[in-house]
Each structure stands twice: as structure tokens, then as C-alpha cells.
């Protein structure tokens, strides 16, 4: 096992990517709060990651021997990407805009705290590595 690049670091890195993407998507929703016919977007990531973590070790995993093979079972870790989903089935306003500013601001706050928590975890990991490298000094 490579001690520098562990699975924990990988997961933290992906989650940070997703949180920073979600910040941009939420900022775009807030900027377009008065735009007619604008539909809000969201980022789906946590559910995919949870499905991957629940399935570890995989119960059923299709072997991919060709890049065009379709994955069987839960996606492998290197395929988990944050995905932007446009929510176009609802309408909050008369002008076809479905941005609910209260929920956007709440999600913004949640996302920021989540991002800070992830950074703290990442720093904790690095601190552990440093302790090991310095021989506990």
C-alpha cells in the first residue's frame, strides 16, 4: 500500500471537488434568482459515494476488460464523479423560475461547513503522515 496516497485521501479529495463544484452551482442558482424560465441545478455525489462505500468489498463486480464495457454492480471508485443535475420538474414562481432562495442559502451554508470539515480531515491526515515521517517527534 502506498502510504502517501491512501484511499482516505482519495475520498477526501473527491469530496472536496464535489463541494467546490456545488458552491459554483449554488452561486449560479442565486445569481439567477430573478431570471425568467431559469431552472436550478444541483450536484449529486454523496449518494454515489455512499453506494460505493456500502458495497466495499463489492458483493458483485463485473470485470471490465475493455474501455467500452458497461460496469456491473456499483461503480468502481475511479468512476465516481460529482454530477450536475438540472431540476426542471418544479416551478416556484410565476415566471417559470424554480430557485427557492431560502433553500439555496441553507445549502450554501451547509456546503461551506462540509468543505471546512473536509479540509480539517485532510489536514489531520497530513499531520498523521508528518508524525510518522518525523518518527513521532
Amino acid at each position: 500500500m502506498n502510504p502517501i496516497s491512501t484511499k482516505t485521501l482519495d475520498i477526501l479529495e473527491r469530496s472536496l471537488d464535489a463541494a467546490s463544484l456545488r458552491q459554483k452551482v449554488l452561486a449560479n442558482n442565486i445569481a439567477n434568482v430573478d431570471t425568467p424560465n431559469f431552472k436550478r441545478s444541483d450536484v449529486s455525489f454523496e449518494a454515489t459515494l455512499q453506494a460505493y462505500l456500502d458495497d466495499d468489498p463489492p458483493v458483485l463486480q463485473g470485470n471490465l476488460t475493455h474501455p467500452r464495457h458497461l460496469p456491473i454492480g456499483v461503480q468502481p471508485f475511479n468512476q465516481i464523479q460529482p454530477e450536475i443535475v438540472v431540476e426542471d420538474s418544479t416551478a416556484v414562481n410565476n415566471n417559470g423560475n424554480n430557485v427557492d432562495i431560502d433553500s439555496e442559502m441553507t445549502q450554501l451554508a451547509v456546503n461551506q461547513i462540509k468543505y471546512n470539515a473536509l479540509i480539517q480531515q485532510l489536514n489531520g491526515q497530513f499531520a498523521k503522515l508528518r508524525t510518522v515521517i518525523q518518527g513521532g517527534r
Binding site: L16, A19, S20, L21, Q23, K24, V25, L26, A27, N28, I30, A31, N32, V33, D34, T35, P36, F38, S41, Q81, E83, I84, I101, E104, M105, L108, A109, N111, Q112, Y115, N116, I119, L122, N123, F126
Partner: protein, 154 residues
Amino acid sequence: MGLFDGINISASGLTAQRLRMDVIANNIANAQSTRSADNPNLPYQRQRVIFAPIAAEGAFASILQGKLQAPGQGVRVAAVEKDNETPFKLVYDPSHPDAIKDPNDPNYGFVRLPNVDVTAEMVDMIDASRAYEANVTAVNAAKGMALKALEIGK
């Protein structure tokens, strides 16, 4: 996707809402103007701002952006349009210099006032100022996250 995209997106919202605020202020300031700048025979016409999301340039670029799963790039002001639909308010005041002087006109002696509804403008103004605040909060969130990212590995 850069570090400051979130701030740029919110900045486009700030610009758009500030322009909207300027247009609303102009409407309120001209609520009694019986002559417009371009036509002295007509009163001031209420203006309104039309917003549109910033789209990637060209059809190919916008499809590519959709496929690349990139977030939107904010909001822009598509147009500032005159309100030609709401009728002017009529007030009977024959001594007014801009009163309708033609005796054959059914509105003889009436003054045409702008189609600005001050109450509606005030409501719009509060809406614009709240939306501006929301964008400021989003800028601060993005700023906090960028600063926090600098602490990785400190």
C-alpha cells in the same frame, strides 16, 4: 474551472442586481415626469430589466458545456426595455402646461402621467436589494472556502 469561478458567478449577480436597482431608482425619480427625454409629447415610460443566464458562446460551445458537466456562468442583463403595455395614468388638470389641449380629444384637459406604479417599484427595490445581499453572502462563502483551501497541508 478555476478557484475564483464561484466569486465571478456571484459578481455577475451583483452587477445585474445593481443595474436593476439603478433602473428602479430612475423609475421612482421620474414618477411625475410628464415629458420623456426622446418625445416631449409623451410622459416618461417605465423601464424594466430583463435577466438571462450567461450561456456559453455559440451552439457547439453550449452543447459541449452541457456534456462537460460544467456549472452555469452566472446572470447577465439581456435588455432594459420600456414598458409599452401599462397605460399612462390620467389626471384632470387643464392648467397644466402638458395637459391635452385638443378639444376634440376625449381626454381634453387631462394630463398624462408616467405608467410608474411607485408601490410596485418599492417592492421590486426590496427584492433587488435582498437578491444583492444573497449574492454577497455567496461571495463570502466562496472566499471563505478559497482561504480554507490554502490551509491544506499547513
